[in-house]
Point group: D2
Chain length 349, copies 4
């Protein structure tokens, strides 16, 4: 029997609306590499959404590709990117950033989040170090929203990080692979305009929010960044999709009437049902996450029971046979699957 999967937020295909649009546009003839009307239209929709008609928008196929291309473009050769040690670029991208010649400079995170004061202290110590010309120069900051641990920044936290970045001449880049679940979380006090206002670059994740694949990189103030050859850099990094319109079509559907938010909200809603079930059972969490990733701490017995019918990710082995595990929901998580899981949780001893 197949287990019900809660492993990741990319274990199904795409929102039906997206597939339908791919079919209805299939025989249109368009130029390649994103030079097509769908991409233009999708970019306009995104510019309108963030209320920045002059912003620059580019599409790429995946998150690692996007992080690598943006970071490589924003840094000079002797600069590195600051990230919390749990940041995706530091752990799970196979050294993609380093493969472009740049060091990831790590700070200790707080449940996956960067603290503005830690950043300030780091920069002050760096600037005071008489040997710093022999060190990688901090050039930018990378954060994730929502983070790899499901947590999110408040507007004041992000504002403070931005202020420190400006004080020290650092660019700020927001990895939005899970931007949707961050923005639609009940714990969020930001909208996408706030994100655009508080960073130098961010991306809007499609892959984990109902697209077949696709991320939209946004430079809210392109006049501050030389983007003349950014397409060439995307191509150099292998990120320029030949049938680029596929990305445009998907982001058109996501942003025409709010599907992007509906998908993410659905994922969060389903996750909260899981969260509540664990709480009611008195099962503790590794992290208190308000988004679509939930990290309960299971005993060995609980783990064995649940894993009979459900698959999810082992996150971190703990003492006494306990483990933190991850349950992930998505735009596609069905009520029936949630009900099965909730029932199983309720039956745990």
């Amino acid at each position: 029997m197949h287990k019900i999967k809660f492993e990741t937020d990319y274990q199904e295909g795409a929102s039906p609306e997206i597939l339908e649009r791919l079919i209805s546009t299939n025989l249109e003839q368009t130029s390649g590499y994103g030079e097509d009307p769908h991409c233009q239209h999708a970019k306009d929709l995104i510019r309108r959404e963030i209320n920045r008609p002059d912003s620059a928008v580019y599409f790429m196929a995946g998150g690692t590709q996007t992080n690598t291309t943006v970071i490589k473009h924003l840094l000079t050769p002797c600069e590195g990117v600051i990230s919390v040690s749990t940041g995706h670029i530091n752990v799970h991208e196979s050294g993609a950033i380093e493969s472009t010649g740049h060091k990831v400079l790590t700070l200790q995170g707080h449940n996956g989040l960067l603290n503005a004061e830690d950043l300030r202290a780091y920069m002050e110590a760096f600037n005071a170090d008489p040997t710093n010309s022999h060190m990688v120069q901090p050039g930018m900051v990378y954060i994730s929203y929502s983070s790899e641990l499901g947590t999110i920044y408040t507007k004041s936290m992000l504002t403070e990080i931005k202020r420190v970045c400006e004080n020290f001449g650092l660019k700020l880049f927001v990895d939005g692979a899970r931007l949707g679940t961050g923005l639609t979380s009940e714990a969020s006090d930001m909208n996408i305009k706030d994100i655009a206002n508080l960073c130098d670059a961010f991306y809007i994740g499609g892959t984990k929010n109902g697209a077949l694949f696709g991320e939209a990189v946004v430079f809210p103030e392109p006049e501050r960044i030389n983007l003349k050859h950014f397409t060439t850099i995307i191509k150099q990094q292998g990120g320029l999709l030949a049938k680029g319109r596929l990305l445009g079509i998907q982001f058109e559907v996501l942003f025409e009437d709010g599907l992007f938010y509906r998908n993410a909200k659905h994922a969060n809603t389903q996750a909260m049902k899981i969260k509540r079930a664990f709480i009611e059972k008195g099962i503790p969490f590794l992290i208190d996450s308000p988004t679509n990733q939930q990290f309960p701490i299971l005993t060995r017995q609980q783990n064995e029971t649940l894993s009979e019918n459900f698959s999810y990710e082992l996150w971190q082995p703990l003492n006494d046979g306990k483990s933190a595990v991850r349950f992930c929901t998505s735009w596609a998580t069905s009520d029936s699957n949630i009900n099965e899981l909730v029932k199983a949780i309720q039956k745990l001893s």
Copy 2:
């Protein structure tokens, strides 16, 4: 009015069979990154097709990504890759190969093809050069089938190249972005098994042959190449698709019952109609291509006339206002579009 496009072989979406399969599998739950049954099945189909049950198959999303990842993996840091100067990696990949630290060592091509004797002479001169420890070491050969100029190698040509490679310890990699049109060309005396027998690695292009996107890299004799961490390298290069099954599903459809060949044959058939029309009109060609790219030489007047209703690529400006241009067909090129073009050619003066 829209012009009829003959610009590229990726200006439409995907074969309807592929879209249908994406729909029918859409809500299946699978693990990510190619660890799913569709990818396994598609790999089996390809292994069967080339009659090498032990070969290693990997999927990636695009050609530049694939070339870069394979070449980076096959070379050591001081090695370079030999290519004809018209090779895609040398001209149109924005320096992706160099971005991984490797030089493209160029030889003069012959209508886009590498000559085995030129290769031998190059290697003999290199080995005889007393300063060669200060030079980039030739580590592998890159060729395209069909080539960037629409031409193809005969079996004896490829066999001879392979022999020279073996003599000099060079690996041989075949870029098969247009493998389908090469193999199904009436001028071809090879099948896909021959390709697999005559190289160390090749890829089967899906993007230009009816897939939304996707290339299948094949290492026919994986025991000769350390592939232990090849997935990590794909990830590092940003080429590991989260919803990896999308690639598996597409290659399943392409290789279940010969769609891969039917698509390519259709492209060639349509291209031959264009070729014949130009020949009958007495219009010369830059290159005699037996595949889906055709390079007629047009006068300024002919160019102006045709470009009113058709779009195609300016390939190379020539003397007297003449230009070599490129007409490209694909799996999707309709009879009616071909008829329009043929009629327009016949009316040229």
Copy 3:
């Protein structure tokens, strides 16, 4: 008035014996790039010193160059190098390792030293991590002898690290920029043969031990490492000195009759005088170092007093205005300078 400098171990020129030899050989005609009799002879001397007639020896001009070239050569593209976080490659080489595409994977050090158990735990956790194919693969271990904090490994510590490396398929590289002071420390229970027996590669530092410049890289068992193109890699990294014989001549002088050890022993002897003076004064140390770097903790007042006539490095600001500072001695540190410093220490309040 000039201050007496204890800033570094490279603040003077070279041992007079070395300068004399440069003069006496100056007009000899030799081939470039290390293809000369002096380099051959110096390599033989080193091979004899480590009692490994088949080992491979190469010369380079500086430490960062050497570390980068060796590490780049020993790793495949998806591999990283493990180092304690205070390791020179992680802090003070401006990201040279990352500039070649490789991540430095950091472990917490213990007074600058790597603990074998920490390494084992790290590798076990890595191997147990189901997502490790998306992570940088640990490929080698980098340690320094003596370390950046003046400390040294015992033979049993190094043996244990080597054992863990072998268990997990990691190569072991010893940065010997300060090999001399490590080996001649009274706390050392190893000789250069032990070093050669317990690693896959190490280098013998000349720059910090009486040479104008120069490091000798040794691969004790070259049959285990493909060195066919190592000269080409040195050249690619800009490390192949045109007048390569300058390196050979210097290492000839250093290893003909033990100058290498005499120089280092002198540095240690002078450092111990400084250490004793601080101890007698009751001034504490950040680290208990048995080599030529000493790290006393000074009050603000002590610091101000000493810095009137002496220059040394601020190592780490501490609470209450205290600072850990570094005094460094070398082959060239004179008795009179030591006496001045010791007297000044004795007068501190």
Copy 4:
């Protein structure tokens, strides 16, 4: 018996004046990494020599290191450097430029020299190419003075190249490994101020002109180039000498009273004696070189005769057993060695 060597211009040590200065300064205590009075003074001497008090000067140990560091610093990731195909960076630096991610874009040279018209035509074709966003962007031009073939640019040739560079937004970098012999050639109509006026960066070669090693990089107009972190880049490339003063001391000696020019003039004078001897014998040349490299074409018989007592470089095998060979002179080439060679040439049949 030893042969007399005319292989390279770095087969002896250093000018005696340089060795003497190393001895007299040997026990001075200075800070490392070029932060010492000798480097400051040497930089001032160079600034005075080129009459640009605001120019930026840096020292590095060797030519490949210098070329790589400067080119890496001046280019953005998608840019390449234009060079004639015989350029040192394209042939004899083991792919050092590509190892930093940049393509060398080659043009056909004319006896080792770049033609301004070829450059203009290349740039016009590039700009007219509709696919150029998928191509490496030309970012700078690299030329050598004197060239790898001993030839030199006239002032009008260099002025014209500079003009084309400015028209197309290309930076211009002059590799001056053999700047001395270029400037002191009787065929030269330029001085070092002209070089400084006509490029964005150049370097003054010490290694091939009487120093033990060392190159001085000059940015005549540093306000046009962001050099804030250039020292960090030098360190990252492994080019920051710990005892940096060694470079300062050498360039002090070279530029205090014209030793740099005297050394180079001597090399040229000796080379002209060789040239004249071959001319008088009726022996032809591959290239007509006015500097210290001479490329006569020898018959097999002549080659066998001369190589009995002299060593020189085989440059290029030609038909009928003939070979172009290279004789190289330097600051150290003695009259007696020249006389021996001239006599041997006169005796050739």
